[in-house]
C-alpha cells in the first residue's frame, strides 16, 4: 500500500557510496589503505561483497568527466583519483557479486540516449536486474573534453536531460523487460528543476540535508509532486548523504576525528585550498587574513566538489586568517550528514530520521574502505536489524525489489 505524502517509511534503504579508498579526502593516506589495489576489480568486488553482507540495497559509483584540478589547471596530485568509468565498474561487478544493486552515474549531456539505453540495459541483464542509473547533467569542467569547451548552460542542459531520459525510457520499452522491468532511475539534486525532474522520473533521490526538518519538507514536497503526476508516493525514495563516525566512547570518537584531521597533510590542505579557490596557496602565509581581493578575479565554480563561487566566498568568516580557514577545512570530515558514537547512537540517528519522515534511508560513505564499512556492517547493521528497521536478508533479487519500488512504469 502506498502511503500519503507525509507517511514515514517502515524500513531503511541503504546505498553505499563507493569512493576509491573511502569518503574522507585523505583516506588514501590511511595506513590500512593498500594503494596498489585501488584501481583493481578485486578491491571493488571485495567492498561490494562486504556491503552485500550488510544487506545494503546498492553500491553507487559517481562520475566525473575531467581530472580534478588545483589552481591554474594543474591536476590535484595530492588527492586520490575517483574517476574510473563507473559503468565499466558496475558491469565488471555484475559478474563478481550477487544480490546487491549496482548503480552508476552517467551524463545526459555527454552520452547519446542509445548509448545510455544500451549500457544500463546490458548491465541490468548481466546482473539479473540490479542496475541503477544516476542521471547527471555534468559539471562545467567536462566541457573542455567534449568539443568546443563551452559547457551548455543550466537551462539547455536540463531541457536536454528531460529529452534524453524520455528517449532512453522509450528504447528500454522497445527492448522488452529486464528481470526488474528496467534499470532504476536515480537522481541527485535539490534545485527546483531537480524537484520537477525527480518527481517525474526519479525512483531514488540522493539528497543533502542540514536538518531533519529540511528532510521532512523535501520528502513531503517530492512525494506530493510525484502523486500530482499520477505516481504512488512510495515510487520515490529519498536518501541523503551520510557519514557515520563510529567510536564506543566520546574519547574514541575524538581520537578518530583527530586521526583523520592529521591525515590531511599540509601539502594536501594547500591543494584542496587551491582547488576550491583556483588560486596558488603555496606561498600564502597562513597567519594573514584570507586574500579575498586577490582571489575573486579568478574564482570559478567547482561542481566536482559541490561548490559555487558564492558558497566558497560565504564559507570564509569575517576577518578569518588563511590558517584558521584551512584548519576548519582540514577538520571537516564530510559535507554530508554525520552521526557519531557507538552502534546504538548511530542507529538512533538513522532510525529517528526514518521515523520522522525525513528520509527513506541513506547513501552512506565510509571514512576508509574497508575498515569503516566493515565496522558498520558488523556493529551497526545488527542493531538496526534487531530494532526491525532494516532487513535481515534480501527478500528479492533485484534493485527494484530491495528499494521496495512499484513495478516500472
Amino acid at each position: 500500500m502506498s502511503g500519503g505524502a507525509e507517511t514515514p517509511g517502515a524500513e531503511l534503504h541503504l546505498g553505499f557510496w563507493m569512493l576509491t579508498s573511502g569518503g574522507h579526502v585523505a583516506s588514501w593516506r590511511h595506513p590500512a589503505t593498500e594503494t596498489s589495489r585501488l584501481m583493481t576489480i578485486e578491491h571493488y568486488a571485495e567492498t561490494a561483497r562486504l556491503a552485500a553482507r550488510g544487506k545494503f540495497d546498492m553500491m553507487f559509483f559517481e562520475d566525473t568527466l575531467a581530472a580534478r584540478e588545483g589552481h591554474g589547471g594543474q591536476i590535484l596530485g595530492e588527492a586520490s583519483i575517483n574517476s574510473l568509468d563507473p559503468v565499466v565498474q558496475i558491469a565488471a561487478l555484475a559478474g563478481a557479486t550477487r544480490d546487491i544493486g549496482l548503480a552508476a552515474s552517467y551524463s545526459t549531456t555527454y552520452h547519446a540516449p542509445r548509448v545510455l539505453a544500451d549500457k544500463y540495459m546490458t548491465v541490468d541483464r548481466l546482473s539479473g536486474g540490479r542496475a541503477g542509473w544516476n542521471m547527471v547533467t555534468s559539471g562545467n569542467a567536462a566541457g573542455r573534453n567534449f568539443g568546443s569547451g563551452a559547457h551548455p548552460e543550466h537551462e539547455a542542459r536540463y531541457g536536454k536531460a528531460h529529452e534524453v531520459v524520455e528517449t532512453v525510457k522509450a528504447l528500454w520499452a522497445e527492448a522488452g523487460p529486464s528481470p526488474q522491468g528496467r534499470p532504476v532511475l536515480i537522481q541527485a539534486g535539490m534545485s527546483q528543476w531537480g524537484l520537477d525532474f525527480a518527481s517525474s522520473y526519479g525512483e531514488a533521490i540522493f539528497a543533502a540535508f542540514r536538518t531533519a526538518q529540511d528532510g521532512q519538507a523535501f520528502r513531503t514536497n517530492l512525494r506530493s509532486a510525484a502523486m500530482a503526476k499520477g505516481r504512488p508516493a512510495d515510487a520515490v525514495r529519498v536518501l541523503p548523504g551520510f557519514m557515520p563516525i563510529l567510536g564506543s566512547t566520546a574519547k574514541e570518537v575524538a581520537e578518530k576525528k583527530a586521526f583523520y584531521r592529521e591525515l590531511v597533510h599540509p601539502a594536501l590542505l594547500r591543494g584542496l585550498l587551491s582547488e576550491q579557490f583556483n588560486f596558488d596557496f603555496s606561498h600564502v602565509p597562513f597567519d594573514k587574513p584570507f586574500p579575498l581581493d586577490e582571489i575573486l578575479p579568478t574564482l570559478e565554480e567547482r561542481p566536482m566538489i559541490g561548490g559555487t563561487r558564492e558558497r566558497f566566498v560565504k564559507d570564509i568568516r569575517e576577518g578569518e586568517t588563511v590558517g584558521a580557514y584551512a584548519e576548519r577545512l582540514a577538520a571537516r570530515i564530510t559535507g554530508h550528514l554525520s552521526a557519531e558514537g557507538g552502534p546504538e547512537a548511530i542507529a538512533d540517528f538513522m532510525e529517528t530520521w526514518l521515523k520522522s519522515g525525513a528520509c527513506d534511508g541513506f547513501i552512506m560513505q565510509a571514512l576508509q574502505i574497508p575498515l569503516e564499512l566493515d565496522a558498520f556492517v558488523n556493529e551497526v547493521v545488527p542493531v538496526l536489524q534487531s530494532r526491525g528497521v532494516f532487513r535481515t536478508d534480501y527478500r528479492g533479487s533485484t534493485l527494484r525489489a530491495h528499494l521496495d519500488l512499484p513495478a516500472a512504469a
Partner: protein, 263 residues
C-alpha cells in the same frame, strides 16, 4: 597459434572457451538497428570477473566521444590488470581512412599517453598520490574534436589496450589484424594476423593454413557449441603463455609514450 572466441551477445560460452584454452574473446558492437541491451564493452567488462586471465576485446563505435572511449578502456585495463583489447568501429558509411575516424583514434591515443607510466606515486608520507609533472593536457584542437585533457584515469597497464582492426583497415598501430579465412597475408602487415573461422570448419584446413604461415591464429565464431568444440581441437597440445597481460599473451611489445611532447 593464437586462438580467439566470439561469445554470444551476453558473453555466452566465454567461460567455457577460457577453460578450453582460448587466448581471448572478441565481442562485436551491436549494429545501430540491433535490439537495445547488448553493449559489447559492458559484456566484456563483466567477463573480467567470470573468466581468468584471457584477453577481453570489444568493438566500440566511434560515435562515442573519444574522451569516453579512452576513459572506459583505461578503466577496463586498470581494473582487469591489462586484459583489455578493442576495435574502433567507423560510423556507418565511413571508411577507416576517413579524417574523422583517424582523428578520433589519434585523440584516444593522446589521452592514453597524457599520463606517464610512473605518474602514480602513492607517496603517503609526502601526500603525493600522482606526480602532476607527469600528467599533461593534450590540447587537441582538430577539425572534428576539441579535447583538452588530461584523461582522468592513469595510463593503461598495457600502455595501450590491444588494438584489433580488420586487415583492410590496419595501420602501423594495429596489434591484431582480423582477416577472412583464405585471404593472402600482405607482406606489409605489421602486427599479428588472425583469421576468422567458424565452428563448422575442418580443423585440418585451419592447421594447414597456420602451418603455411598464412596467419598467426584464428578467431572462432558461429554456433557456440560447435565453436567451443573446434577451439578444443585446435588448442590440443598447444603451449599457452601463462601469466602476464593480454599483450604478453600475444607476444606483443608494450608501447611507450607516443604523444608525450604534445603538451
Amino acid at each position: 597459434m593464437i586462438l580467439g572466441f566470439r561469445p554470444g551477445p551476453l558473453g555466452e560460452g566465454a567461460a567455457a572457451a577460457a577453460a578450453s584454452g582460448a587466448d581471448f574473446v572478441y565481442l562485436p558492437a551491436a549494429r545501430p538497428d540491433a535490439a537495445v541491451g547488448a553493449d559489447a564493452l559492458s559484456v566484456a567488462a563483466c567477463l573480467m570477473s567470470l573468466t581468468p586471465d584471457i584477453g577481453l576485446a570489444a568493438e566500440i563505435s566511434t560515435a562515442w566521444q573519444p574522451f569516453n572511449v579512452a576513459r572506459a578502456l583505461a578503466s577496463f585495463d586498470l581494473l582487469s590488470r591489462g586484459r583489455c583489447g578493442w576495435s574502433p568501429r567507423p560510423l556507418d558509411g565511413e571508411s577507416a581512412d576517413a579524417p574523422r575516424f583517424r582523428e578520433h583514434l589519434e585523440v584516444v591515443f593522446k589521452l592514453f599517453d597524457s599520463w606517464d607510466d610512473d605518474a602514480l606515486v602513492f607517496d603517503k608520507a609526502n601526500a603525493v598520490f600522482a606526480d602532476r609533472a607527469k600528467v599533461r593536457r593534450i590540447r587537441h584542437a582538430g577539425a572534428y574534436f576539441t579535447v583538452d585533457g588530461p584523461l582522468n584515469a592513469p595510463r593503461p597497464p598495457q600502455g595501450h589496450p590491444v588494438l584489433i582492426q580488420p586487415l583492410g583497415d590496419a595501420t602501423a598501430a594495429t596489434d591484431v589484424a582480423l582477416a577472412p579465412f583464405g585471404v593472402e597475408r600482405p607482406a606489409s602487415a605489421a602486427g599479428l594476423v588472425v583469421m576468422e573461422a567458424d565452428g563448422a570448419d575442418a580443423p585440418e584446413r585451419l592447421k594447414a593454413a597456420f602451418a603455411a604461415g598464412a596467419c598467426d591464429g584464428f578467431l572462432v565464431g558461429g554456433e557456440i557449441d560447435a565453436a567451443l568444440s573446434l577451439l578444443g581441437v585446435m588448442g590440443e597440445g598447444r603451449a599457452v603463455a601463462d601469466g602476464g597481460d593480454f599483450r604478453a599473451r600475444l607476444g606483443l611489445a608494450r608501447p611507450g609514450i607516443r604523444y608525450g611532447a604534445a603538451a
